[in-house]
Symmetry: C2
DNA sequence: TTAAGTTGTATCTATTATGAATACAGGTAT
DNA sequence: ATACCTGTATTCATAATAGATACAACTTAA
């Protein structure tokens, strides 16, 4: 099981929109950098737009960030691309036997733990912004030239 | 996307093995409580056995915990049932364009963040044991009778 | 106004993971 | 010898993902 690459692709798109802000970032351009097809990019861009992270207009080539890179946290991207719904990272088996002590109480007993784990993961993604990723990209690039 | 219910089923099995330790917990018995088929239970039991969490023997009905419930952490179950591999909770798009600044550095830049998030999730599962779950089950049962 | 290019969607397909189900070999016990 | 159980392989239906094609609606430039 893996969380969809829509998340990492979303981050890729946002970082590139900022780095290429003086140019035109069409879905085809972005798709080239990500190495996928423009349709998937447009689908993800639609999600990012709906959540107020980017600005795009039908018919007009290119997109741009709707906020400063320092104001976009990775958790915003994570939630925008809907890779995981709230409270539902972990699936729990349905309809355990109500005639059994464990069966009738397991769901309510385990759900808070699973929820806490999911929240811990999301909290970690709150600490990183697109600006951080961009800085890291530039740093890696610089390091490689030394 | 959701993490397989093998995890919650595994916890269910372990809790029930302890609560029913004076009885015989065959795969059919466990399957009844979980409300699934015995094959899936045996498959998961095989994983739990391989990781030293339970004891089972071919031909002999029933299984039992290999450790005290207080010594089995949920993260042990999580890893035993292999719902998620190390470093691979998040999938990252492959082969981004090397001719692009973002494309050639995005993977190395984002991987540490994703890894940290995954570890945060697992850390949360380290804090809870099967004993905790059993206590919670009994507590919920008691609360319901008042 | 026409033509070209782009976004926003819908649709189809291949691939993969899950979980239900059946079957059966091999082990155990009465 | 019979009955029961575990361990494992296999088949099947379902769902999510990602690649791909097609096209309507919109914008811009010629």
């Amino acid at each position: 099981m893996q969380i969809s690459s829509r998340f990492s692709v979303g981050v890729h798109i946002l970082a590139l929109l900022d780095i290429n802000k003086d140019g035109i970032s069409s879905s085809e351009f972005l798709a080239g950098s990500v190495n996928t097809n423009p349709t998937l990019i447009r689908k993800i861009m639609g999600m990012l737009k709906k959540n107020g992270l980017i600005e795009v207009q039908p018919g007009i080539a290119g997109a741009s960030l709707a906020k400063a890179p320092s104001d976009i946290r990775l958790v915003d991207v994570y939630k925008a691309v809907e890779v995981v719904k709230d409270q539902e990272l972990f699936s729990v088996h349905e309809n355990p036997l109500r005639e059994c002590l464990v069966g009738r109480n397991i769901q309510e007993s385990i759900t808070p733990v699973l929820s806490a784990a999911q929240i811990a993961l999301e909290k970690e993604l709150e600490n990183v912004t697109i600006e951080d990723i961009i800085k890291e990209i530039k740093k890696k690039e610089k390091d490689q030239h030394n």
